[in-house]
Symmetry: C2
């Protein structure tokens, strides 16, 4: 297996490059077969690398710093980044994948800008209409499911949703080892007559394809059930679904905290319970779900949450390495080609 | 104040008329100023009324049974119900509101059929484009928010979303007593450039209206925050948002149950904690959020969850009575007229 190189945008996240470099040091230790390039302000990154690796046995010769003078801000508009941020750490990361120097890149920066740059300079695979943002989601069986699109494409036509099903299916098979992943469309009911026309048309396309194990519509209430391994929707819907879950979790968690603080007995009981149960709940720790993949492109692009911790950013790097080792873009390419031949 | 009459579809729910009659008996006791009509199979309802009221001091003369021979099934298509279920308990309930015999109706039956019948036979208020399904949602401040549309209109144009904002605003003011309810549009970001065109156009309409306290876009993660009292979206999005929250809650709850059962100590601690905290969590009991209102019609229509318990169905009846007493349709009518005059 050829040695892979992963390029990391150090300047993108809300919490600055120190978090990114800490995660990189951990990746250097965990993935001895991978080389790294880190894009951003060279003097700053040099001193951070020295500081974070102090006392650890890591081989810093496996990291190359690629200096850039600009930073894409969270408030920047995608179009403007394309025109005005040619020497940004994000653009350099994309370019290094596009020219084959690296096989994958990771950024915690502005999602819209990352998608625009990836679409413009890395480009979609032949036959792929649109790249999709996909993230792993927990499910009741303790397995991992996948939800796409999460915001790269607010509005989609039926053919695009169909392709998301095809690409998501490859992802679930390669990353989770499920031979025939169950693919479902997120809809407002499970009956065939339910929902917007575009979702019904996508359902028809999926049901006619031999390459996809299509199981029909599922509702939001089954998002985390074992009813599907891959759940497909447009980017607007995916964003609303995932963020609403976050809102619900926040509501319950904040009330839990408030109510537990109300009396020493509750506080104590909750603490003992937490200690006992911590391991059993580890699968729900959001850190390990950090790292959404932008798939359908000619290279691996992983988007970390903007305010990821070093642990969470490390998960995103791990995802990028796994996808590069599997050569996921080539596998998606093969599958999409096969489906296109089926259709014609 | 004139005495109101509320008509109840006894045959609609998944759990049969016994649940409905039990809730009705409780309503008879709690609302001495309201009369009731119950639609469905007369012999069965007669015996259920006798059984459920046994030993209680309730005045059954305040209930009239309206016999019907048909039942709308959950699997029935709305269009077919319109054509073939003219003597159903649901249709009778709508007709009794339409002809002024009753001021409100409650049904736990097929949502699509209820909406179709209400739209066809009760009709929308003058100037109202589409009725909307709206439900109360909990929020962090311990107050009640409202989310609409929840599925009556899978796809909406900007003008329809704008009207939902106007109607939702009236609802929050009248039912929650908030003088200038904050109205927001559910979107995939808070910046003005985010989201589908139709949402942006609706935002423009809302921001130009003097009658609505519009606060901009909110994301799913703020659905239960105090950022908004009324959250507006199309029916597809509202359904996905609410059901995804349900899915998340189910995931956490089921894991909680499993993990608590794993050891006697966890089981015991969880039980003690539950006993201590029960009151503090009562505000999250879904029973009290049962009863979504179909607003924008010439009468009050409340939809109960299909498998509601007697307690939950009682909440739906309470909502219907509150809306009838406030004469909510007239208030919505006034507000919509005012807005239409503003626009022309």
């Amino acid at each position: 297996m050829a040695k892979n190189t992963v390029v990391i945008d150090a300047m993108g996240g809300d919490r600055g490059p120190a978090i990114v470099v800490a995660a990189l040091i951990r990746a250097l230790q965990s993935f001895p077969e991978t080389d790294f390039i880190v894009t951003g302000d060279e003097p700053r990154l040099k001193s951070l690398l020295a500081r974070e690796s102090k006392g650890l046995s890591v081989d810093l010769s496996r990291v190359r710093i690629h200096h850039t003078s600009q930073i894409v801000q969270m408030s920047d508009k995608p179009g403007e980044c394309i025109r005005k941020k040619a020497d940004s750490s994000m653009r350099a990361a994309i370019d290094l994948v596009a020219d084959g120097t690296a096989q994958a890149c990771v950024s915690a920066g502005n999602t819209g800008a990352l998608m625009a740059m990836a679409y413009m300079y890395l480009k979609t695979l032949p036959g792929v209409l649109r790249p999709a943002l996909v993230a792993p989601i927990p499910n009741e069986a303790g397995k991992q499911g996948f939800l796409l699109d999460l915001g790269a494409n607010p509005v989609c036509d039926a053919e695009t949703l169909f392709q998301f099903g095809v690409m998501g299916s490859v992802l679930a098979r390669e990353l989770s080892g499920i031979e025939h992943p169950k693919v479902a469309l997120l809809n407002m009911g499970t009956e065939e007559i339910k929902g917007p026309d575009v979702v019904k048309q996508a359902g028809l396309l999926l049901s006619q394809s031999k390459s996809v194990n299509y199981t029909g519509f599922i509702e939001g209430s089954d998002l985390f059930s074992s009813a599907a391994d891959v759940v497909v929707c447009d980017g607007f819907t995916g964003n609303i679904a995932l963020k609403s879950c976050e809102g619900m979790a926040k509501l319950v968690y904040e009330h839990f905290q408030r109510s537990m603080k109300s009396h020493w007995l509750s506080r104590s009981l909750a603490w003992i319970l937490y200690r006992r149960q911590r391991k059993s709940w580890a699968w729900l720790n959001p850190d390990q779900y950090n790292g959404a993949s932008l798939i359908g492109l000619r290279g691996v692009v992983v988007k970390s949450h903007g305010n990821a911790s070093a642990n969470a950013f490390f998960s995103a790097i791990s995802n990028a390495i796994a996808e590069a080792e599997l050569n996921l873009p080539a596998r998606i390419h093969n599958q999409v080609e096969q489906v296109l031949q089926e259709q014609h």
